[in-house]
Amino acid sequence: MRLVDILYAFPFLVLAIALIAVLGQGFWNMITALVLVVWISYARLLRGEVLSVKENEYVTAAKALGARDRSIIFRHVVPNAMAPVIVQATLGIGTVVLNAAALGFLGLGLEPGSPEWGSMLARGRSSLIQGQWWITVFPGLAIFLFVLSINLVGDGVRDAVDPQGDTSGGAGVRE
């Protein structure tokens, strides 16, 4: 977990930018960079959940029945620890899309010339000054609506799998 602490010191985008600088631009490199950044929050979340779930009596009962560690972990502990992970995974799509678009906007996303909302916005910036507003308004609106829809789905998933969960509108999601 010390590794997670270390990685947590780097803000999402800064780490992703540094990784893309190392890997180079391109679709799979961007995916790799984003994955290397986001896995951390799931590791941390699942660790906390597992620590609390394994204190439950049914785990003790399974041990007393002589179940092997492996089957306790995969049949009892992990399924019960997954609810918040599923919620965060859904809300996390929005975060990743926002950051991917930000990378595109900074010119560090896909190869130059690829159709991508973030880089469309970056190109529209100069036309904006000349009053051509539509080039920037619509790609941004697309990102916004996409992320909003995903987050609404995430809220629904939370209500379904974790009825007691918080309703902080994604406040637990790492940015």
Binding site: L7, P11, V14, G107, N151, G169, A171, E175
Partner: protein, 315 residues
């Protein structure tokens, strides 16, 4: 555990984290394609001894762990060498930009808190009715809006259509009055998403507190609704808000990289992007390290504040 012992324990835990942070920064930048020597040799005629001389100058002729040690030793006294592009010292270049970024960050953070906390309180007090619903929708919108797009829209409305601000800020010392005007739009852009998160968190922790027994006691004592909320409930809800506010510092750093690009704001975030595109290795290393170390320390302060506010939490 006393606060003092907790502080010592936390400081000891920080040592391996800081070590890891420096190691990761160093290795990431070492993995970048192209060495500083190749970069410099592009512009000079190569004489036989020059490459070796440059390699020695950048310690590239040493084994990698010696390179790391030499870099770390210099980094501790903030000596990151000279920028490959501008011939200035790296620390000088960063220090020159730092006030701009700090001003932007502090203003953005201020906006996030001064919108987020009051709205969160209002939403909690009106738990379940239309005002609460409206705040939920506002938060959803705030979180889903890409900050660079919000920035561009603000530029479009206030600079292009209404002509209130110049699109590109003038190149002046940051604390001059004429420059202060230009921080407004970037700071709003930076603060919006954070304010949505802070609002939701303030709301949920206040709703939790409002149901506690001491609230009923305070009301039974005959205290006014206002006193109960401000003096009792709000104070107790702030404990969890403090931790999230600390996370928001990382979020603000994240955002400032993008927002500075949108508004051509001459800060550290733009320096970082320039360093990446120009492969200015020493600048890149220094900025990434500086950001990571800052966040490690902010987290320390948040943890201490948290355990000072709620002495039950010391582990």
């Amino acid at each position: 555990m006393s606060l003092q012992r907790y502080l010592i324990k936390r400081l000891l835990v920080m040592i391996p984290v800081l070590f890891g942070v420096t190691l990761l920064t160093f290795s990431l930048t070492k993995m970048l394609p192209g060495s500083p020597v190749d970069y410099i040799l592009q512009f000079q005629e190569t004489t036989p001894g020059l490459r070796e001389q440059l390699r020695a100058q950048y310690n590239l002729d040493e084994p990698i762990y010696i390179q790391y040690w030499l870099w770390l030793r210099d980094a501790m006294v903030l000596d990151f060498g000279d920028s490959l592009i501008s011939d200035r010292s790296v620390s000088g270049a960063i220090l020159n930009r730092l006030p701009n970024t700090l001003l932007l960050g502090v203003m953005g953070f201020g906006i996030a808190i001064s919108i987020g906390i009051p709205l969160g309180v209002v939403a909690a007090v009106n738990n379940g009715n239309t005002i609460d619903e409206a705040s939920r929708v506002a938060a959803l919108i705030g979180i889903a809006t890409p900050n660079f797009w919000l920035g561009l829209m603000l530029l479009l409305i206030f600079s292009v259509q209404l002509g209130l601000f110049r699109v590109i800020p003038p190149d002046q010392p940051v604390l001059s009055p004429s420059m202060l005007k230009f921080v407004i739009l970037p700071a709003i852009t930076l603060g919006t998403a954070s304010s949505a998160l802070i609002m939701r968190l303030t709301r949920s922790s206040m709703v939790e507190e409002l149901n506690k027994d001491y609230v009923r006691t305070a009301k039974a004592k005959g205290l006014s609704e206002r006193t109960v909320i401000v003096k009792h409930v709000l104070r107790n809800s702030m404990v969890s808000v403090v931790t999230v506010a600390a996370i928001q510092v990382a979020f603000i750093v994240n955002g400032s990289v993008v927002v500075e690009q949108v508004f051509s704001w001459p800060g550290v975030g733009r320096l970082l992007i320039d360093a990446i595109t120009q492969r200015d290795l020493p600048v890149l290393q220094a900025i990434v390290l500086m950001i990571a170390v800052t966040i490690v320390f902010v987290n320390l302060v948040a943890d201490l504040l948290y355990s000072w506010l709620d002495p039950r939490i010391r582990y």
